[in-house]
Amino acid sequence: MKKAQMQGGETIAVMIIIVVLIIIGLVFGLGRTTEKIEKDANQIDFLNSIRIAIKVTNLQEIKCSRANSGGNTCIDKYKVLSLSELIKENNEAYVIYQGIFENTQIKINEIYPGTETYTIYDYNDSINKSRTATYVPILLWDPIKDTKQFGIMEVATYN
């Protein structure tokens, strides 16, 4: 009787150990998987922000006219003003640029001389509300005064 009881106890002990080992293995495996998923998600967010920043900096509609070209980084101030007005007032334009820019905020900050800030586009429907910002130095050209200013284009993608 005692021997049977001891055997029964051994069996239960073995089962408990196996279950504990399986649980430890699962916890460890899940932890690694979660870490990997987070890393992949961060990489995708980063690739996404680069993709949109490339699109914005190559936008033909705000570039300087060819005769006054200051290179690829020259942006026409009046085109920026009219584009941001158009996106605010025209629903069709808003929808089109929403498809191009997605969840992004695009701002132009004058650095020297002048300190104005122009927001071209701002849309955010992401859950996390965290952002990845890319900064691009630009030349802001005034076609009426024919002067150029240093500026920074900030492209912040919401994750």
């Binding site: 069996t11 992949d40 690739l47 033909q60 509609e61 158009l86 025209n90 069709e92 334009a93 076609p143």
Partner: protein
């Protein structure tokens, strides 16, 4: 009695081992299936993001041709609700939207090296960079007897699979070289007859006009399911870049889908330029030499003309072309008198 008890105990032990062992085995089989499915989904997401990044980077390289790595799978492109989507063939994935709205691509590409050719569409200012994406398995065959077809043949980069062939006898005779698709481009010949009936589903014929800057394109296709008679579809174009896009695509629906997106962008940019003219006009003194251009409809008229022509482009493409010409002349005039140019 003791023996019997021991025997029963041994049997119960074995039953216990079988049940527990079976349960553990089932558990790990289910777990490995779940992990495999998740890994596949992750791989598909990564592939999708990679393709999106490749398309973005290729799209933003001005006027260039890039050979991309082999796409290890076939992707099918379709147009739904005015948007381009792509789907990985033979995989159970949802169609993914293409954010590159200015992509001209054949219906199916993949399992071969890709060629990404970016050109700039101007009307007359830069509207957008168009991305012409094709692969080695799509062959473009140009009619040697047509000047316009030859002109486009020489404009196509060497990296793209292309050939000059003789279509003067009105019959297309060629050997199937194992390509997925053959797109024939002809200019002067009337509707040709296809010689090899077994290859009908692989063939599209595109008839282009003499003027490669403006006109109508005719797409001839043998449609599913029987590939019986040739079906025709006529679409308009302006600029050689758009014509090249239509040829690369080889599909009238996909061509129209992309062209509509480009025209939407063109309309918005024209509206933006009108706003810019109004903003500049507010800043100018009425005595300034440039104010005559910005305070009257001299500049806004051709811009509004472009917007109106885009509403019915297939019938109004000539007006579209004329307004672009007019805008070009006015821009040169603004440059001559040192006033702010439109572009």
């Amino acid at each position: 009695m003791k023996n019997k008890k021991a025997q029963i105990e041994i049997s119960f032990n074995w039953i216990f081992i079988l049940i527990v062992g079976g349960a553990i085995l089932m558990f790990f089989i289910i777990l490995s299936n779940v992990i495999t499915t998740d890994a596949e989904k992750t791989a598909n997401i990564k592939t999708t993001e990679r393709l999106k990044t490749i398309l973005s980077a290729a799209e933003n390289n001005e006027e260039s041709i890039k050979e991309l790595k082999e796409l290890g799978y076939e992707a099918t492109f379709l147009c739904e609700f005015g948007q381009l989507y792509y789907q990985i063939k033979d995989k159970n994935t949802e169609p993914e939207i293409i954010t590159t709205n200015t992509l001209f691509v054949p219906k199916t590409i993949g399992k071969s090296k890709l060629n990404a050719w970016s050109t700039t569409y101007q009307a007359p200012y830069d509207i957008t960079t168009t991305l012409l994406l094709t692969d080695e398995k799509t062959m473009y065959l140009f009619d040697n007897s047509s000047d316009s077809a030859k002109k486009i043949y020489y404009a196509f980069p060497e990296e793209i699979s292309k050939e000059l062939i003789d279509l003067s006898s009105n019959k297309i005779t060629f050997e199937d070289q194992g390509h997925r698709k053959y797109i024939f481009v002809t200019g002067t010949n009337p509707e040709p007859q296809i010689a090899p009936p077994n290859l009908k589903q692989k063939i599209t014929i595109i008839k282009i006009p003499q003027n490669t800057n403006q006109g109508e394109i005719k797409f001839y296709d043998y449609k599913e399911p029987n590939y019986g008679e040739l079906e025709t579809s006529t679409k308009a174009f302006t600029t050689q870049e758009i014509l090249q896009g239509a040829i690369i695509s080889g599909d009238s629906e996909l061509y129209e889908c992309t062209l509509n997106n480009i025209h939407q962008r063109e309309k918005i940019i024209a509206q933006m330029n009108i706003k810019r003219i109004e903003l500049i006009n507010k800043t100018y003194d009425s005595r300034h030499k440039c104010s005559i251009y910005f305070s009257t409809t001299i500049l806004t008229e051709p811009l509004n003309g472009i917007i109106n022509a885009l509403e019915n482009f297939d019938t109004d493409y000539i007006n579209h072309g004329n307004n672009i010409e007019e805008l070009n002349k006015l821009n040169n005039e603004l440059r001559r008198i040192s006033c702010p140019m439109i572009y």
